[in-house]
């Protein structure tokens, strides 16, 4: 177990170094002079340009710049945003609650909707199964912005049930405001989770031990819970991990469509104005989320299937 953890942590370190390098490098490789982006296209005196270059270490060689940036990042200093003239860390922290709430809300919708429809399709072959397959096919193929537009036009404009814009005040009102965004965010992933759940459960349903459990007089609902769903959790957990990271990326579209000031929207607006310290920080956040989600999935898998346990177990 300890060896496994060490290997995993080593792997994560390498992943983070490589991706941080790519994140930092790609922003620098983008065409154009960073200094002129930082000045927002305004013409400035050579002295001002020099000051900017000094502040952002643009005169240093690339590797030195990278090292300085990483040095800041590990101490929690992500630099200053050029457009907001504020610490990037503070900018993100202020927007994080909205994004987390949105992701959490969408996550709940995804888990309930995906597991329920996937399980239903696996257990009710025939019409129900086909309906779920078509439904999830459409859901998976619908881009978030299309879902956002559709939901806004039906539930906000036509029916007027939910607001189409803004964050809301207080917890209840925020949840209310986040309902349509969360639904738009969840749609694609509900389809994905439903399909994985269905496939995984169908595979488990065909196993001999499921029939054996039935042959021993265990009621059908218990058989499904303890021998089918329980055994199907491996792939479901794995895909849930990727969904968490995918959600963070997808918030950029949904938050922009619904005018929510969250991290996703911050990313989009920063990309537009080439506010690269912000872009770098948010990209790194996405990478870290992805890595952490995967680590959690790997740690949870042995709890689901003891055969994957890293503790040694002999044969009796």
């Amino acid at each position: 177990m300890a060896g496994f953890l060490l290997r995993r942590i080593g792997g994560i370190a390498v992943t983070l170094v490589v991706t941080s390098f790519l994140v930092f490098g790609s922003v620098h490789l983008a065409p154009g002079d960073p200094a002129s982006f930082l000045l927002g296209g305004r013409s400035a005196s050579p002295a001002a340009v020099a000051a900017i270059k000094e502040q952002y270490h643009l005169n240093d060689p690339f590797l030195v710049q990278y090292t300085k940036w990483v040095g800041g990042v590990v101490t929690g200093d992500f630099g200053k945003s050029a457009t907001f003239r504020q610490d990037v860390g503070g900018l993100i922290a202020a927007r994080l609650p909205t994004t987390l709430l949105l992701i959490g809300y969408a996550g709940v919708l995804i888990l309930i909707g995906g597991l329920a429809s996937g399980a239903l399709a696996a257990l009710r072959r025939g019409v129900v199964d086909r309906a779920v397959l078509v439904g999830t096919g459409v859901a998976t193929a619908t881009p978030s912005f299309v879902a956002a537009i559709g939901l806004i036009s039906v539930f906000a404009v036509r029916l007027g049930w939910f607001p189409a814009f803004g964050n809301g005040e207080g917890f209840g009102d925020r949840i209310y405001h986040l309902t349509l965004p969360a639904a738009a965010l969840a749609l694609t992933f509900v389809g994905l989770l439903a399909r994985v759940t269905r496939t995984s459960m169908l595979e488990e349903l065909g196993r001999e031990h499921v029939e054996v459990a039935r042959s021993r007089g265990v009621p059908g609902s218990d058989v499904v819970r303890r021998h089918v769903l329980r055994n199907a959790l491996g792939p479901i957990t794995t895909v849930t991990g990727t969904i968490v990271a995918g959600l963070l990326v997808a918030t950029s579209i949904v938050e922009t469509a619904f005018g929510l000031s969250g991290v996703g929207q911050l990313l989009v607006s920063s990309v537009t104005v080439k506010d690269f310290p912000v872009v770098q920080a948010v990209s790194l956040l996405v990478v870290v989320t992805f890595v952490v989600a995967n680590l959690i999935v790997d740690l949870v898998q042995p709890l689901i299937d003891p055969r994957l346990s890293h503790a040694k177990g002999g044969t009796r």
Partner: protein, 322 residues
């Protein structure tokens, strides 16, 4: 007349409609008395497992069954699903061929052994205590620790013992064993067989023992049914069947088993077994039978009694097999 523990009468099973529509069992009749060990022997695909599973009401998906299947006089085929579950928990248990596939790999041994009892409303504590005793009775050391272990920590033979313990949990009167040792290696086979026969005798259970090893069946069973292509072709006491098989197929099976005392290599039953669906008119065994006559492919042999044996061969009276 007292009711028999298990009485199967004229059981027909066929896969219904669709592309795969075909018969699987044709007129299978057999019975098991209380405390009696009965063998069901035949080559692969003859319908042994389908017969055995049907006793628990487990028919192949999309199949229809006709005839009757009674346990202590109660017909399985017309039973309510509630009563059927109760019967599976308490009255009839099955030991399956491959313990590795038959026990959920991600749940604990204790969960497996107690599952039926728990479904029947036995409190967790009592069920675990009973499971411990059961594991002990099948020869598992440190049963308490075993209850908390997972299947992958056990060898195949040990896992089959766990399966037996699980099958005995409900205190069944009828034990179905579907090739319980085929998946095991030779040394553990003998151990598992002796555990099954000991417990069957100790607990006075009736047993239907499925195997393709006629010699094994003869060693542990009181009576034996021989099955070919979805039909019973011969039935008699194990001892007499071994000494004097009545059906050419049975003698073929006997000749196929290697004998220690004989220098002759086993010559086996020539040809390939057919399933009921492929079986031609007349006797299904005709294509492989050394005694076949033109008439054998026209009339289907009906089962009849000859010297205490049930035989379905047109020429049974004229042929003596020694």
């Amino acid at each position: 007349m007292t009711t028999r523990l298990l009485e199967i009468e004229n059981l027909n099973v066929r896969l219904a409609a669709g592309r795969a529509a075909r018969p699987i069992l044709d007129g299978v009749s057999l019975h098991v008395e209380r405390g009696e060990a009965v063998g069901l022997v035949g080559e692969s695909g003859s319908g042994k497992s389908v017969t055995c599973r049907s006793v628990l009401g487990l028919l192949p998906e999309g199949s229809q069954a006709a005839g009757s299947l009674r346990v202590d006089g109660e017909d399985i085929l017309t039973m309510s699903s509630n009563r059927l579950r109760e019967l599976r928990r308490r009255d009839v248990s099955m030991i399956f061929q491959d313990p590795r596939a038959s026990i959920n790999p991600i749940r604990r041994i204790g969960d497996f052994v107690t599952e039926g009892m728990r479904a029947g409303g036995v409190p967790q504590k009592d069920a675990l205590k009973r499971a411990e005793e059961l594991l002990e009775s099948v020869g598992i050391r440190e049963p308490r620790a075993a209850l908390r272990s997972y299947p992958h920590e056990f060898s195949g033979g040990m896992l089959q013992r766990v399966m037996i313990a699980g099958a005995l949990a409900g205190g069944p009167r009828l034990l179905l064993a579907d090739e319980p040792t085929t998946a095991l290696d030779v040394t553990t086979q003998a151990e598992v067989i002796s555990i099954i026969t000991r417990l069957q005798a100790e607990r006075d259970m009736g047993m239907l023992f499925v195997t393709h090893d006629l010699e094994l069946a003869a060693a542990i069973c009181d009576r034996i049914y021989v099955m070919y292509a979805g039909r019973i072709v011969e039935a008699q006491s194990a001892e007499r069947l071994f000494r004097r098989p009545r059906h050419p197929y049975t003698s073929g099976l006997l000749a196929a088993t290697p004998r220690l005392e004989s220098d002759q290599p086993p010559h086996g039953v020539p040809g390939r077994p057919v399933s009921l669906a492929e079986a031609p008119d007349g006797c299904a065994f005709a294509a492989r039978c050394a005694h076949a006559r033109p008439g054998c492919t026209e009339d289907e042999p009906v089962q009849r009694e000859i010297d205490g044996a049930q035989v379905a061969c047109l020429r049974a009276e004229e042929l003596i097999h020694d």
